[in-house]
């Protein structure tokens, strides 16, 4: 195996291992921490693909942002001695079956697809290119999704403020 492949295998193993731990852990904060590892390993995969911008976005948004918020809300709401209930045997079997079925579906689909090797070398994605395509309304432009997401975020923020205000006035 080449070094490249070894790296891929390591990242894949980390992702799979911590994903399983995330869903099986009975302590909520541990689950959140394992999720953090999954997300960081995913960012590692992006780095492995030389797609640094995406990797950094992954780390900032998911690892640094969303996991922090999740942990923060866990801190606010749960006690250290809280445990999830042990799941009943039947539920475990069913969910395992569902997960395995999903995995098989994904793997077969991927295997059936014939990926064509492209000749083009990995192009270094310049910041200028990213910035311009984000603000572009022509072909390959992302201004519409960008703006729509902004509106969504604005709505979320306003609703958060409204909720916070409501409990205060009571």
């Amino acid at each position: 195996m080449e070094l490249n492949e070894i790296m891929f295998v390591i990242f894949g193993a980390v992702i799979v291992f911590f994903s399983i731990l995330t869903v099986t852990s009975r302590r909520i904060l541990r689950a959140a921490t394992f999720l953090l590892f999954v997300l960081v390993a995913t960012a590692g995969l992006y780095f492995w693909l030389n797609y640094e911008f995406m990797a950094a976005v992954q780390v900032t948004l998911y690892a640094g942002g969303i996991v922090v918020l999740i942990i923060f809300s866990i801190l606010l709401t749960s006690n250290i001695n809280d445990r999830f209930e042990k799941v009943a045997g039947r539920k475990v079997i069913f969910s395992a079956l569902a997960a395995i079925a999903g995995a098989i579906l994904c793997i077969t689909t991927i295997l059936q697809q014939e990926f064509q090797a492209t000749e083009a070398l990995a192009r270094e994605v310049n910041m200028n290119v990213i910035g311009r395509s984000l603000m572009n309304y022509g072909e390959n432009g992302f201004v519409l999704p960008f703006e729509v997401i902004s509106v969504l975020l604005l709505a979320a923020m306003i609703s958060a403020i409204v909720i916070a205000k409501k409990s205060k006035s009571k």
Partner: protein, 362 residues
């Protein structure tokens, strides 16, 4: 191969060539990684020791004291003695703590600062990775450090720790915005996120002079926000010794406490290095536009000295903050960020864009 302290490119290439000539490329990469890792570990420990010693001496001078003066001449071995003491101390196990997370937390904090360090250009040709989104990468990985603090606070099963962790979470999440935006202001002028390009583009003058008003505002905001991000006084609410005994690391002892301690100083070095790189030109000597003669004279000082000199100055400013100001309260801290720094920052970034578009910068 001539060893050149003005340009490390040839030096690093020489090492690379040498390694590749004796082993396969894969092993060469692994060996290089190992070398960089070891160098960084040593560097990390060294910076930690020096900074702790410097902090003690400087705070002693500010407080009309002498400071450490027993271990070695002028007490220079004091921090080493302290680290040995910390290493030999008992690691206290807390019965009702979440042991896995409790033990994991210091590592997350220290790994985050370690990773961020890997993208800093120390001198010309002396940076481990030259990512094209370098500054964004540093912001991203350093934002992971807060997870370690939150975990430490929660898993200690101590109410003071939990309050400290909450404060630190709220604080770091808020101040990351200001750090990011003030760096973005600088990047608007430079037009790149790659740290090597950022430094090179300041060859005709540092950014703080080129961008004049908005750059100065961005620098000041960055300095405030970065002090807050590193949990240092006057923003050390997460530790808040007088209120929360020691905040999130109340329950830690021995080497695990040393990790938090080290990470705090490392983060301070890191934010100072970023400020020096972005606003004061990193390893770039002090150049003034077209004054060829003056620039030549400045070039005689090696870049690595320029880099560390600037970083040290910024660290000194941050230490001066800590030993002069009282601590803020949590609501005042958040008010400062959300009501003052953030709006100023947003207006400032617009101003910078305007200046760039109209070409009013130098």
């Amino acid at each position: 191969m001539a060893f050149n302290i003005y340009d490390f490119t040839s030096f690093t290439e020489w090492i690379d060539q040498g390694l590749r000539s004796v082993m396969s490329p894969a092993w060469a990469v692994i060996t290089e990684l190992a070398i960089i890792g070891i160098v960084f570990l040593v560097f990390y420990a060294l910076i930690g020791l020096i900074l702790v010693y410097a902090e003690r001496k400087i705070c002693a001078f500010i407080q009309c004291r002498i400071g450490p003066n027993r271990v070695g001449p002028y007490g220079i071995f004091q921090t080493i003695a302290d680290f040995i003491k910390l290493l030999m101390k008992e690691l206290i196990h807390i019965n009702k703590a979440d042991k896995l997370l409790f033990n994991l937390a210091p590592f997350i904090v220290i790994i985050a600062s370690f990773m961020a360090l890997s993208a800093i250009p120390f001198a010309k040709g002396l940076h481990p990775v030259n990512l094209n989104i370098g500054i964004f990468f540093i912001l991203a990985v350093s934002s992971m450090g807060v997870v370690g603090i939150l975990l430490a606070g929660w898993s200690s099963n101590n109410k003071y720790s939990l309050i400290g962790a909450m404060r630190s979470g709220a604080q770091i999440v808020s101040y990351e915005l200001s750090v990011g935006l003030s760096i973005l202001t600088a990047c608007v002028l430079i037009g790149s996120l790659q740290l090597s390009v950022i430094v090179e583009s300041q060859a005709d003058g540092w950014l703080i002079f080129k961008g004049h008003i908005p750059a100065v505002i961005a620098f000041v905001i960055y300095l405030i926000a970065a002090t807050a991000e590193t949990n240092r006084g006057p923003f050390d609410l997460a530790e808040a010794e007088s209120e929360l005994t020691a905040g999130f690391h109340t329950e830690y002892s021995g080497i695990k406490f040393a990790f938090f301690f080290l990470a705090e100083y490392m983060n301070m070095f890191l934010v100072a290095a970023i400020a020096a790189t972005i606003f004061w030109g990193g390893w770039m000597p002090f150049h003034i536009g077209n004054w060829e003669g003056f620039n030549r004279v400045m070039d005689f000082i090696p870049p690595i000295i320029w880099f560390f000199g600037k970083t040290v100055v910024i660290i000194l400013i941050m230490m001066w903050f800590k030993w002069t100001f009282p601590r803020l309260r949590i609501d005042q801290l958040l008010t400062l960020e959300w009501k003052y720094l953030l709006p100023i920052n947003l207006i400032n970034i617009l101003l910078m864009a305007l200046i760039v578009l109209l070409g009013w910068h130098f």
